[in-house]
């Protein structure tokens, strides 16, 4: 039974680590499915986390913090949209630029406003999302297996975690069962056809970019309002890129995103918990290999050695209306 307890704890931390990955990967799903590549997920998440930390501290309200995070992230998305949709600049270059601007300015502004070495002041309870305890979680704690799963794994997460997991079927529904989603996917495959049908490619892509901004904002808010108690310098620590890897690993599909993020989250949680753990058969695996594994797996997948990841056809190409 001890083994089972360990498993529950590991699963619990996997869920925690995966939450921002799921949100950010879904964010990427919306823009990339609309044909706008976005390697600026990292920057948007970082900017959102910073805004959330600042505003939640000043207003002492977690919801204002969340709102600020979404606002900043959407603004950054619109910059990306303006550069890559309206100005038809390179989407990759624009994403890189956003990552740098945010990485620098969060530190400079944070230091100027709070003077705590680039972090925002620690948040009190009212400035953070407190964990939701599902009903009877305490009562059934001692029931073997089912009770442990219920109270140890399902209960006691941040509301944003539940939101993240709900967003997976919701995104699927939006993308595959609504008119907006159908058009969004069409604009990523063949914008010319969408344009012929009399639908504005530009406006559709802007809406996709805004959706991305909202989800990235929630992901960022999770980092500073739920996982941590305030913003710390560079707190995304490459999570945006892992989310990007997960998005590709999932072949741009909502359901696969959930599993890819859980897998990458598990690798991370495992690496943190069991440094120097000796596997049966393989022996000790260096922690550096565990850290690099998500990236290695994505490269192998991209190379077509395990399945084939085919990106949206019009991805990365600015749309020029025929004249």
């Amino acid at each position: 039974m001890d083994f089972f307890q360990v498993f529950i704890e590991l699963a619990q931390s996997t869920v925690r680590v995966s939450t921002p990955l799921i949100l950010a990967a879904l964010a990427g799903l919306f823009t990339e499915r609309a044909g706008v590549f976005d390697i600026g997920l990292e920057g948007k998440m970082l900017g959102a986390a910073f805004a959330a930390g600042c505003v939640a501290y000043i207003t002492q309200s977690v919801y204002m913090g969340l709102l600020a995070a979404i606002l900043v992230s959407v603004l950054l998305s619109l910059v990306h949209g303006y550069a890559s949709i309206t100005q038809r600049g390179s989407q990759i270059v624009s994403g890189v630029a956003i990552n740098f601007v945010v990485a620098g300015s969060t530190v400079i502004l944070g230091e100027a406003w709070f003077r705590q070495g680039g972090r925002t002041p620690a948040l009190s309870e009212s400035g953070r999302f407190s964990a939701i305890h599902l009903p009877f979680a305490d009562a059934v704690r001692d029931v073997p297996i089912l009770g442990q799963i219920y109270s140890g794994l399902l209960s006691g997460h941040s509301p944003l975690t539940y939101l993240a997991f709900l967003m997976v079927p919701a995104s699927w529904w939006i993308l595959y069962r609504t008119r907006f989603g159908l058009r969004l996917r069409a604009v990523g495959e063949n914008p010319g056809a969408v344009d012929t049908a009399g639908i504005s490619v530009i406006w559709l892509r802007y809406r996709a970019v805004i959706c991305c901004g909202i989800l990235c904002g929630i992901a960022g808010a999770y980092l500073s309002l739920s996982a941590g108690a305030g913003f710390t310098k560079g707190m995304t620590a490459g999570k945006g890129y892992i989310a990007l890897a997960a998005l590709i690993f999932a072949k741009w599909r909502p359901k696969n995103i959930l599993f890819a993020c859980l897998l990458f989250g598990f690798l991370d949680a495992f690496a943190i918990r069991y440094q120097g753990f000796a596997f049966p058969l393989i022996g000790k695996v260096p922690v550096q290999l565990m850290q690099a594994l998500p990236y290695i797996l994505t490269v192998i997948l991209l190379a077509g050695f395990i399945g084939k990841a085919i990106p949206p056809k019009a991805g990365g190409v600015p749309y020029v209306k025929e004249r």
């Binding site: 390697i39 600049g89 990759i92 270059v93 624009s94 100027a112 890129y241 991209l302 077509g304």
Partner: protein, 377 residues
């Protein structure tokens, strides 16, 4: 499809537009300085003074410039073939293996001028190797080069962390670095070059790899504009379909281009390892690979543009250190903002001011106006 923009004279195309883009980037950076509550003019003064005020400062500026010439050239070479190599950071990091191996093996027996060529080959070899894999994956397996090079940056970071921990670290040492090289692994400073201008290099690590960077810049110019390979690369960059139709082997060009690009990025490792620290440390690249993107975009992928762009970023890095010393609320992260804004305005938004400038330029010069009028543009 109609031509989106009228053709501009060369001075406007290669001079005015980059300058306007740069000016906007700096204006916004100035705004950030204002928000922080400091004076942008004072910051600019400290920056210029910190970068050029003394021989030693100039030495530091040129030391950073050396690094950025290498990484800028690396990105530019790939750009010419239509490839976006974001992996300069990782390639430079892995290139360090070549430098460290050459120095650790030979520094006690050979003089620096014999170790240096071997280290150059080593750096270029490992950098090229690290870029070859994404290149090969793009050419043969169709995986997107941008994504794979990003992934390879992270893999490189883990790999180097492991190697420094398990292979390079001397026994009993706690810090993640190789042992300090003896005289054979130390590049001479260019104090004679500075003293021609009556300046003293002081403690600045301005070393001979600067000359290597200039040679590399010239070699890149020859490669891109004076060789068959360069012609094929540019053809592929302009139109992959035309290149295929002309019988150019796409896969071969992609792999070779990436190897040249990675080799150049790898050679960057010579400057900090053999020129400054005399040992390989954890994270010695410090984002220089990413600065290369900004440098290549600003220099419009031409060596003659890359050298001044690298000098500009060298000035930002050295002057930025001085600013953070004089004005504590502006840390060196300010450079990261400027770098991002330069990438944004010189890269993604490069056409934003073009219509206005075109109108202005054509309005100003009677000759181009007549040409435009006869063409009915």
């Amino acid at each position: 499809m109609s031509v989106p923009y009228a053709k501009l004279p060369a001075w406007a195309e290669y001079g005015l537009i980059p300058l306007v883009n740069l000016a906007v980037a700096f204006l916004i950076s100035g705004l950030v300085v204002l928000i922080v509550g400091e004076s942008p003019l004072e910051a600019a003064y400290h920056m210029i003074n910190g970068a050029f005020g003394r021989g030693e400062y100039i030495g530091f500026t040129l030391y950073y410039t050396t690094t950025f010439i290498f990484t800028g050239l690396a990105v530019a070479v790939a750009f010419h073939a239509g490839l976006f190599n974001i992996g300069g950071e990782g390639q430079a990091y892995v290139g360090g293996i070549g430098v460290a191996l050459a120095c650790l093996a030979l520094d006690r027996t050979l003089p620096w001028y014999l170790v240096f060529p071997i280290a150059i080959l080593g750096a270029a070899f490992f950098g090229a190797l690290w870029a070859m894999i994404p290149g090969w994956l793009q050419a043969k397996r169709g995986s997107h080069i941008v994504i794979t090079t990003i992934m390879f940056n992270f893999i490189a970071a883990s790999l180097m962390n492991y190697l420094l921990n398990k292979v390079f670290k001397p026994l009993g040492s706690m810090s993640l670095e190789t042992r300090t090289f003896e005289a054979g692994g130390q590049l001479p400073k260019l104090d004679w070059l500075m003293s021609i201008f009556g300046l003293s290099v002081g403690s600045a690590p301005f070393n001979i790899s600067f000359l290597l960077a200039l040679v590399a810049a010239f070699a890149v110019w020859v490669l891109i504009w004076r060789t068959k390979l360069g012609y094929e690369m540019r053809t592929m960059g302009h139109s992959p379909a035309a290149a295929r139709y002309a019988g150019i082997k796409e896969a071969k060009i992609i792999v070779i281009t990436m190897m040249i690009s990675g080799g150049l990025a790898g050679m960057m490792a010579l400057n900090p390892i053999m020129g400054e620290q005399f040992r390989m440390q954890l994270d010695f690249v410090q984002g220089a690979g990413f600065v290369g993107i900004a440098v290549a975009l600003m220099g419009r992928s031409h060596p003659a543009g890359i050298i001044p762009a690298a000098l500009l970023f060298g000035m930002l890095y050295q002057g930025g250190a001085e600013i953070s010393f004089e004005m504590p609320s502006i840390s060196r992260d300010m450079i990261v903002i400027i770098q991002g804004l330069v990438i944004l305005f010189a890269g993604a938004l490069e056409h934003m001011f073009r219509p206005a400038i075109t109108r202005l330029v054509i309005g100003l010069s009677p000759k181009t106006r007549d040409v435009a009028a006869t063409k009915g543009a």
